[in-house]
């Protein structure tokens, strides 16, 4: 039709989900991905398990801290956070969010149980010492009884089952929203998991640089982390390609909406280019770092930057999906405004979540011998030396 239309009057629609949602999706994805990364070294047996043990220590630390902080961000995204108990008083079988509200505490407690059992041998050893840390260890280990390894395995597998539930519900919750074609695709839940794995492995690389004890396994952790990033990025690229193809072949409105957004809006075009660039750069750098590990010293000092980029990819994907997609108007012309305010609904919320996570991380690092038994020796010998000296 040979006509042009100008929209003259429309109200301003505000975005209903705040950046808190991004923080929740980011942290919970790292949490379940790190849980998976911790499994081989924690419950596995044999040489393979042994090689993954150093990685498992970091992964356990990551899964615990992220699991503790993620629900806080989720709660904050409610406009009536004090009414959270309504979720349990009025559980609703038709709502993915309600199913999630039941899964989340089950997951949280199973992760707590799993990490606690995994760290308990080190706690038992720490009980022997003196001072505050030993007191905390006595408190946290709850007695000096021994527990069979099979119990750890069972709890770990239970946590894994709930983790699968979290993967399913966080993805399905978004993907069923038909009103937003960009969300309404079965590829989205898969992409949440793969980019979550990228981010978790990235966080492993970062913490490996700054928190790992300077001893065995450090370059091995880097190598494993880089491999995980490479594989997860490959799968993500495959998923993105499949999503695009399903749209180009006319099977998905999601793609049509995406292409329309990219065509009509320079911000979206920039974001798409950036996403592609970041993905390619991350993949290339990870591959280079992995290849060059033989002359390791310099590489292993800088490989944490690849980790930061991986975290960026995981976070930015969620920002695009959860925040930017909300700016695509449903009925009106143009785009809604995404204003990230300074306050707790905006920037402070984002920084605050990371700050809280950092605080939890440091508290755990201060009081819990998460690095395992080997970590205790230098400390103890130092203390012993100090006493004798």
């Amino acid at each position: 039709m040979n006509s042009s239309i100008i929209e003259i009057l429309t109200p301003r629609y505000e975005l209903a989900w705040y950046p808190w949602a991004v923080q929740y999706f980011f942290l919970i994805a790292i949490s379940y991905s790190a849980l998976l990364l911790s499994l081989p070294g924690t419950i596995g047996r044999g040489q393979f398990a042994q090689r993954w043990q150093p990685m498992a220590r970091l992964a356990l630390l990551i899964t615990l801290t992220c699991t503790l902080v993620a629900p806080v961000a989720l709660l904050a995204d409610l406009h009536q956070p004090m009414r959270f108990w309504h979720f349990y008083a009025n559980a609703t079988s038709t709502s993915w969010m309600s199913i999630g509200s039941i899964l989340l505490p089950l997951y949280l407690f199973s992760v707590l149980g799993y990490v606690w059992l995994a760290w308990r041998p080190a706690l038992l050893q720490a009980r022997q010492g003196h001072g505050f840390a030993a007191g905390v260890a006595r408190l946290l280990s709850a007695g000096d009884w021994q527990v069979r390894r099979s119990v750890l395995t069972i709890v770990a597998l239970t946590a894994t089952v709930f983790a699968a539930g979290i993967m399913l519900y966080t993805g399905a919750e978004i993907a069923i929203i038909k009103a937003r074609p960009l969300w309404h695709t079965n590829w989205l839940p898969v992409m949440f998991v793969t980019t979550g794995m990228v981010a978790a492995a990235g966080l492993v690389l970062v913490l490996n640089r700054f928190m790992s004890p300077a001893r065995e396994g450090r370059s091995e952790i880097n190598r494993q982390g880089l491999k995980v990033i490479l594989v997860a990025m490959l799968v993500s690229a495959f998923v993105a390609a499949a999503w695009l193809l399903s749209g180009l072949s006319g099977h998905s409105e999601s793609v049509a909406a995406a292409l329309e957004s990219v065509q009509a809006n320079s911000d979206w075009r920039l974001s798409a280019i950036w996403a592609l660039l970041a993905g390619v750069i991350l993949f290339a750098f990870a591959a280079i770092a992995l290849k060059a590990r033989t002359q390791s010293a310099a590489i292993s000092r800088w490989v944490w930057l690849v980790g930061i980029l991986a975290l960026h990819v995981g976070w930015a994907f969620r920002w695009m999906v959860l925040m930017e997609v909300q700016t695509v108007a449903k009925n009106t012309a143009g785009y809604y405004q995404l204003v990230v305010e300074l306050g707790s609904y905006g920037l402070m919320g984002i920084i605050g979540t990371f700050g809280l996570w950092l605080a939890v991380l440091l508290l755990v690092d201060l009081f819990i011998p998460w690095q395992g038994q080997a970590h205790q020796r230098p400390h103890q010998s130092l203390a012993a030396e100090a006493q004798h000296g």
């Binding site: 039709m1 040979n2 006509s3 042009s4 239309i5 100008i6 929209e7 003259i8 009057l9 429309t10 109200p11 301003r12 629609y13 505000e14 209903a16 989900w17 995204d77 409610l78 406009h79 009536q80 009414r83 959270f84 309504h86 979720f87 008083a89 009025n90 609703t92 079988s93 038709t94 709502s95 993915w96 969010m97 309600s98 199913i99 999630g100 509200s101 399905a172 919750e173 069923i176 929203i177 038909k178 009103a179 937003r180 909300q326 108007a329 449903k330 009925n331 009106t332 012309a333 143009g334 785009y335 204003v339 305010e341």
Partner: protein, 265 residues
């Protein structure tokens, strides 16, 4: 291609309007009370099951005066800047002749037969009454805004004062007192017709019978079966129109709104 798409959409709209009306004749929409599968409609509750409210908006009568917008705002005390109903206004110009026309499009909750906002609610705060009206119990609502995301019509918003989901209720409180909804009452052209579609003698039933083939609903492809029917509708406006956005607010450095300006004009 655009034209073809619009034409198809228009056909779907008419078909869907027809399909949406069919089950009303048999009044058979009553999902079982328990064990509804994920994302299916939970059982309806409250309200008079012998009625099914719906609305016809006769666009031939609408002059875009926004009396409905204002009266709704006053009746339902929505916070400034949020609206349960609004009349979208468009300027349509024919490129070859230069002729101009105004399109006005009142928007409100469609009280869908298959409302996507209801099953997603994690606490059953939003529900559909037996008379078809979709309401929110704002004492139960946790403000998760999942329903706001699920509504394809932007008919829902988070009320900044109550911090809960808010939407058009067809003025259920007025209907119960035998009054018309504020928007219907104040409409100068009589463009909004509300009524019980199960009563064959109601004005809406008669108009549906008379105009059945011309009625259209918004975004028919969403499968929501809206129960707000438009008469005299232009297919180009069924979904998000291919339009230039014109009015945008202007903010100062602190993000405070200081006025409006036309974009690209």
């Amino acid at each position: 291609m655009d034209f073809a798409r619009r034409a198809i959409l228009g056909q779907i709209a008419k078909l869907t309007a027809g399909a949406a009306l069919v089950p009303l004749a048999s009044l058979s929409f009553s999902p079982s009370a328990h064990a509804s599968p994920i994302n299916s409609q939970p059982a309806r509750r409250e309200g008079d099951a012998s009625k099914r409210y719906g609305m016809i908006i006769d666009l031939r009568q609408c002059i875009g005066c926004q009396a409905c917008t204002v009266s709704c705002h006053i009746e339902n005390e929505a916070p400034m800047g949020s609206f349960r109903t609004i009349v979208s206004q468009y300027e349509v110009s024919n490129k070859s002749t230069g002729d101009m026309a105004t399109m006005v499009l009142p928007r409100l909750c469609n009280h869908c037969e298959n409302p996507p906002c209801v099953p997603v609610c994690p606490v059953q705060a939003t529900f559909q009454r037996k008379d078809g009206i979709v309401v929110v119990d704002n004492e139960a609502c946790v403000g998760c805004a999942y329903c706001v995301q699920a509504c394809p019509y932007d008919a829902r918003f988070i009320n900044k004062e109550t911090q809960t989901a808010d939407k058009c209720t067809f003025c259920a409180h007025r209907l119960e007192a035998n009054l018309l909804p504020a928007c219907v009452e104040s409409c100068v052209g009589g463009a909004r017709i509300i009524g019980d579609m199960r009563d064959p003698n109601s004005q809406i039933s008669k108009m549906i019978a008379q105009h059945r083939s011309e009625l259209m609903v918004l975004k028919p492809e969403q499968g929501t079966l809206p129960q707000v029917y438009y008469l005299g509708m232009d297919e180009r406006f069924l979904s998000r129109p291919q339009a230039e956005p014109a009015l945008w607010d202007v903010r100062d450095i602190d993000g405070k709104e200081i006025g409006y300006e036309f974009l690209d004009h």
